[in-house]
């Protein structure tokens, strides 16, 4: 098979003071298909380069106002990324070496023919294109921000690339990761990077909605469908029309609801609760769980067919302890943001504080770090955050395989309690926190050897639920079957009572 190779063409700035030489060069460059601008002096070249960024600059060494080398230096100083090629009548090694040292990519000895000019320019333009590509790739590899994410670690760069790759398609995406790793942020990033970005993004936390109401929340209901259905109500599927529906904690869905979700995924149609006819909706589904989805399938809690329908493109969000320097990037980001919100002077963390933050494994991930920084900013003020300002952090109960925290100074910690037996997934921190002492976990239920005050039991249950959910108050409230505001009120009350760790 024959292959047509097209020589690269580009914008060439010719800097040559002798009109005959300039005319010959311009004629050759035009014949080679390049766009050419000509400057007869160094000063003219600098002006031209500002308004007409060139891909390559052909520089005569002896210019009327200053040398070609000086011009190259000034062009570079002004940010020109053009490939510099020196034109010289002196083909000595010294000239060649000096040209290269001054940043020229090549040099041409005068007089030169079209063939020589072509080869040199082709190489220079190809080299420049490769350098530009390399720079772009490096920039992509070192991104410190991506939509709502903060983080430049290799693990997050891989996440960013996957999101960018999958966003333009309609493929279903399944996000996994421990609590607090940013699953909803990832879902939003997919939505915002997709052609559906102008459509709605609707998030449903399947774990926070009473199981009897989840069908109505997703598919809506008609008036009179059940007690309390006083009007027709559009569900999340209808609200997400033309956009993205994010189903968080999808593994918490009852099996009968999973069947209905599967049908919706297969046909694009659903039936609101109590409705006589199915409806269609054009939505992209992104789902997430903090559990091992395959283990849930094997345990019979998640339908295999639904799993394969949803698990088209998996994205695994790394825990914060595996994100290296990201922890400090994120901490600084939150400090700047919260200090501005709260009107505090904080400009950064003391070195020892950063060491403590880096050493701690943050089992509650970004959410835990966010809460810790918020706590510091609300309760303290100053130029820098000192280690003593950090809230007490629970001793981590990490799985054996997880990296152990380094032995750097860490703020006071609460001794780890026994692990909560019924917690299936992510490594949980021992009970919290800044505002309460570490109580024993909620389960197994205490033996009635002694009767405790109800308030103590209540506090223990709430703290255990917060622990289990990575300090996510709405989720903890859902698990306890209370309103999130109840938990917020309790936490505030304990704080005002001075119940501290």
């Amino acid at each position: 098979m024959s292959e047509t190779v097209t020589a690269p063409t580009g914008r060439v700035l010719l800097v040559e003071d002798t009109p005959t030489q300039a005319e010959v060069a311009k004629a050759m460059l035009a014949a080679l298909g390049h766009e050419v601008r000509h400057a007869a002096t160094g000063a003219q070249a600098l002006l031209l380069a500002q308004e007409w960024p060139a891909d390559a600059v052909l520089v005569d060494l002896q210019l009327p106002d200053f040398s070609g080398f000086e011009l190259m230096r000034r062009l570079r100083a002004e940010g020109s990324e053009a490939a510099m090629i020196v034109l010289t009548a002196n083909g000595s090694v010294n000239t060649a070496v000096e040209a290269m040292r001054e940043g020229a990519i090549d040099f041409i000895v005068k007089p030169y023919g079209k063939a020589r000019l072509k080869v040199t320019l082709d190489n220079a333009l190809e080299n420049r294109a490769l350098r530009a590509e390399l720079t772009a790739v490096k920039q992509q590899l070192n991104r410190g921000r991506f939509f709502g994410f903060v983080g430049a670690s290799p693990a997050m760069q891989a996440v960013y690339r996957t999101i960018e790759s999958v966003a333009p398609s309609r493929a279903n995406v399944f996000i996994t990761g421990e609590s607090g790793t940013g699953k909803e942020l990832a879902a939003e990033a997919i939505h915002k990077a997709s052609p559906r970005a102008k459509g709605p993004f609707v998030a449903i936390n399947c774990g926070a909605i009473p199981k009897d109401l989840i069908e109505s929340e997703i598919f809506g209901h008609v008036k009179g469908a059940f007690t309390g259905a006083i009007d027709n109500r559009a569900g999340a599927a209808r609200q997400a029309e033309g956009g993205t529906l994010f189903l968080d904690e999808v593994g918490e869905m009852r099996l009968d609801m999973q069947v209905k979700l599967l049908r919706f995924l297969q046909t694009g149609s659903f039936q609101p609760v109590g409705a006589a006819r199915p409806e269609k909706a054009d939505v992209r589904i992104v789902s997430a769980t903090n559990r091992d989805p395959l283990a849930e399938v094997e345990a019979g809690r998640f339908r295999e067919d639904l799993y394969y329908r949803l698990y088209v493109v998996p994205i695994a969000l790394p825990p914060l302890r595996e994100r290296g320097e990201d922890v400090l990037l994120i901490a600084r980001h939150f400090l700047t943001r919260f200090a501005k919100e709260e009107g505090r002077r904080f400009r950064g963390f003391a070195r020892e504080t950063e060491a403590a933050i880096s050493a701690y494994p943050w089992p509650g991930n970004v959410r835990q770090l966010q809460n810790a920084v918020r706590n510091v900013v609300v309760l303290h003020d100053g130029d820098v955050v000192t280690p003593g300002m950090l809230p007490p952090l629970p001793a981590p109960a990490l799985p054996a395989a997880a990296p152990q925290p380094a032995a750097a100074p860490v703020p006071p910690m609460v001794a780890p309690p026994p692990a909560v037996a019924h917690v299936a997934a992510p490594p949980s921190p021992a009970p919290v926190t800044a505002f309460a002492p570490a109580p024993p976990p909620m389960a197994p239920p205490p033996q009635p050897a002694s009767i405790e005050p109800l308030a103590v039991v209540e506090r223990r249950c709430i703290l255990a639920a917060l622990d289990h959910t990575g300090q996510d108050v709405p989720k903890a409230a859902a698990l306890l079957g209370v309103n999130p505001s109840t938990i917020y009120r309790k936490l505030a009350a304990w704080r005002s009572e001075g119940v501290h760790a």
Binding site: P19, T20, Q21, E23, A89, K110, P111, G113, K114
Partner: protein, 134 residues
């Protein structure tokens, strides 16, 4: 090995024909000027000759003036530009004369070199015009 020769025919020494340009007194180098004429459209080639002609007039004028005023820098600068212009169109003999004028190691007085430059300029232009079919 002896060359076989067909009786009654003249033997043409091809080697001599190929080498001939080196021994002629041509003012231009056909490997440069001829290549330009081949590579570029005729109107572009003619424009280059016109530019060269203008350069010659300007630069020989600058040389004469600088020599008269004792302005060595101006003299060397004009000689350098003339050498470059001549090289670009393959006017080799003119280029050599211009480089002689700017070479401090071989001082040649302007009164000696300027007439030679003028003569070479005329020859080069004449041959370039011939090449362009003017």
């Amino acid at each position: 090995m002896p060359r076989s020769v067909t009786p009654g025919r003249r033997v043409i020494d091809l080697g001599w024909v190929i080498m001939r340009p080196l021994f002629t007194v041509s003012a231009i180098d056909p490997s440069i000027a001829g290549q330009l004429a081949d590579d570029l459209p005729p109107e572009i080639f003619r424009r280059i000759i016109a530019t060269f002609e203008a350069d010659l007039a300007r630069l020989t004028g600058e040389l004469t003036q600088s020599a008269g005023e004792g302005d060595l820098d101006g003299y060397l600068r004009a000689a350098h530009s003339l050498a470059g212009a001549a090289a670009a169109v393959g006017a080799r003999r003119l280029e050599v004369e211009a480089r002689t004028a700017m070479d401090p190691a071989q001082p040649v007085s302007p009164s000696e070199v300027l007439p030679r430059l003028s003569a070479e300029s005329r020859s080069a232009l004449q041959e370039l015009h011939q090449l362009a079919g003017n």
